[in-house]
């Protein structure tokens, strides 16, 4: 079954979507959209560095993403520029640095388009194993730290005063984000990863009455987007990564329509 490239793409995409649901919900709740984007952009720098040093690409990407988020924390504490400006600087300069470094290395040939926009139709069985392995690890981690994560999201000081260690929660989310970016680069590419974190979670908001419901619904919407987007790309020969994002956008727009409100009221009544 996994010998068919379309089936492989579907399986990989669904595994990815299951993880982006919960992680994306935290990105939306904690207003980390731009932060996630910055981490994703730094992935290109990670790729360039791992090519330069001849190390595993995943390790390089995770390291670059964590380095950038660490740098952001330090610079934020200095408090000279707003975190918005800092994110803008880090996000685009890491992307540019990555591109320049790759340009310097005339001896390597990399498919830049696949890195930026993903090439889900080219995923291997090994990629699928990676996505499901690390995906399961992330999901188990989120479930294990669920209460502290939610408490820290609602109010950091309250969480700390009542012994919930919000700093640990923050670091955990950063590590999960970095790992997800590294394993998911191939699926939608570094420019579109945050779209699949944010759009399904945002679409789930109006359909959910609790944080627990929201992460499950966000995952489902992600899965629907992957299935819809891949079929769209198959039918109309459109690029697969962007097609998945377009499918997610359509679900988001539907969630804003009156249909969603009626659906939620019906569920509440039952």
């Amino acid at each position: 079954m996994l010998d068919d490239f379309f089936v492989r793409a579907m399986v990989a995409g669904i595994g990815f979507a299951l993880v982006t649901g919960p992680l994306g919900a935290f990105v939306v709740w904690r207003r980390m959209a731009y932060f996630g984007d910055t981490m994703a952009h730094s992935a290109l720098l990670g790729v360039a560095i791992s090519l330069l040093l001849n190390i595993n690409m995943m390790v390089g990407v995770v390291a670059a993403a964590l380095l950038v988020s660490g740098a952001l924390l330090v610079l934020e504490k200095r408090g000279v520029f707003s975190s918005d400006a800092l994110l803008g600087i880090l996000s685009h300069s890491t992307l540019a640095l990555g591109l320049v470094l790759v340009g310097f290395m005339s001896w390597v040939r990399i498919d830049l388009m696949a890195l930026l926009f993903g090439d889900i139709l080219a995923v291997s069985k090994g990629d699928i194993a990676l996505i499901y392995g690390f995906g399961a690890l992330i999901l188990v981690g989120i479930a294990w730290a669920w209460r502290p994560l939610i408490a820290a999201t609602v109010n950091v000081e309250l969480a700390q005063a009542e012994g919930m260690h919000p700093q640990r929660a923050r670091i955990l989310l950063m590590v999960f984000l970095a790992v997800l970016i590294a394993v998911a680069m191939k699926i939608v590419g570094i420019l579109l990863i945050t779209a699949l974190l944010i759009i399904p979670a945002a679409a789930a908001r109006r359909l959910s009455a609790s944080p627990e419901q929201m992460v499950v619904i966000a995952s489902l919407i992600g899965v629907i987007s992957v299935i819809g987007g891949l079929n769209l790309s198959l039918a109309y020969d459109t690029p697969s990564g962007p097609s998945i994002v377009v499918a997610a956008l359509i679900v988001f727009l539907l969630s804003l329509s009156p249909i969603a409100v009626i659906w939620r009221k019906k569920r509440k009544a039952s």
């Binding site: 939306v28 207003r31 609602v154 000081e157 009542e162 908001r205």
Partner: protein, 273 residues
């Protein structure tokens, strides 16, 4: 009082940020069953001192001691809940620890918002949110209850009701209460010690009951007079607009406590009998 009743103790606590002392020389204890109210103008270091007591902030100087295995309930001043996080009042109750359904129902009806159990936290009014927070605090059965301006943005009747609930919690659970109040003159009647802060401890003492005075009773109403009390400040110095301090004898110095040994702590021994 026995030492085992000591819940949290601050000794000479100071916090410095970017070369500026937010607060300095803060000493106070909170014991089991005691209500301590911190008052002071904006930026006087009330929240900073409380955050030190909670362990949310590490003091630059001085020591903070908390009892072992201290269970704390904290009611922050602002919630800043993002709209995108769907959180019902019922779910809020389980934020930092899981409680039984029945207990949650009891707590919510005790604070008078049982009908709001399924409401979204973001849609509560100021008073309703404070009641919900009190219910959550209550459910934890804390040793120490800490509230940052619990009555801000709440109308007069609501303020009286909230103070009655806090007092009920103290009487019922025997917890210590550390409270920040924005009002410089009117405090919760059950307060044992009022501490007036303005970058340092300006004065401290017990509030005066307003229930004893007919005039106040007329002004506040009978029920409010039982819940509220007047705090009479005994300052031996004035804070000038430029941040310097003028003492009763007319001398002016940059920093009240630390540059003038004669005045340091002398105003703390006032008796407010």
């Amino acid at each position: 009082m026995a030492n085992k009743d000591l819940l949290v103790s601050l000794k000479n606590v100071g916090v410095e940020r970017d070369g500026k002392w937010l607060v300095r020389g803060v000493d106070f204890n909170v014991r089991r069953g005691e209500i301590v109210t911190l008052i002071g103008p904006n930026g006087s270091g009330k929240s900073t001192s409380v955050k030190c007591a909670l362990g949310v902030l590490d003091p630059t100087e001085g020591t903070v001691k908390r009892a072992d295995n201290l269970v704390v309930s904290y009611v922050p001043q602002k919630f800043n809940l993002d709209w995108t996080l769907p959180l019902s009042v019922k779910r809020l109750m389980n934020l930092t620890a899981k409680h039984a359904h029945a207990d949650i129902e009891v707590a919510l009806s005790q604070v008078g918002i049982a009908h709001l159990a399924d409401a979204e936290v973001g849609q509560l009014s100021g008073g309703e949110l404070q009641r919900a927070q009190l219910a959550r605090a209550m459910l934890r059965k804390p040793d120490l209850l800490v509230l940052d301006e619990p009555v801000q943005g709440v109308d007069f009747q609501g303020e009286v009701a909230l103070y009655e609930l806090i007092q009920h919690m103290r009487d019922h659970h025997g917890c210590g209460v550390l409270l920040i109040s924005h009002d410089l003159h009117v405090v919760m009647a059950a307060t044992d010690t009022v501490i007036c802060l303005n970058g340092h401890v300006c004065c401290r003492g017990a509030p005066q009951s307003v229930a004893a005075s007919d005039e106040y009773k007329r002004l506040f109403g009978a029920r409010a007079s039982d819940a509220l009390a007047i705090y009479d400040h005994k300052h031996d110095h004035t804070h000038l607009p430029d941040g310097r301090v003028q003492h009763a004898d007319g001398t002016i110095c940059d920093d009240c406590e630390h540059s003038d040994g004669d005045h340091a702590h002398s105003h703390k021994e006032h008796d407010h009998a």
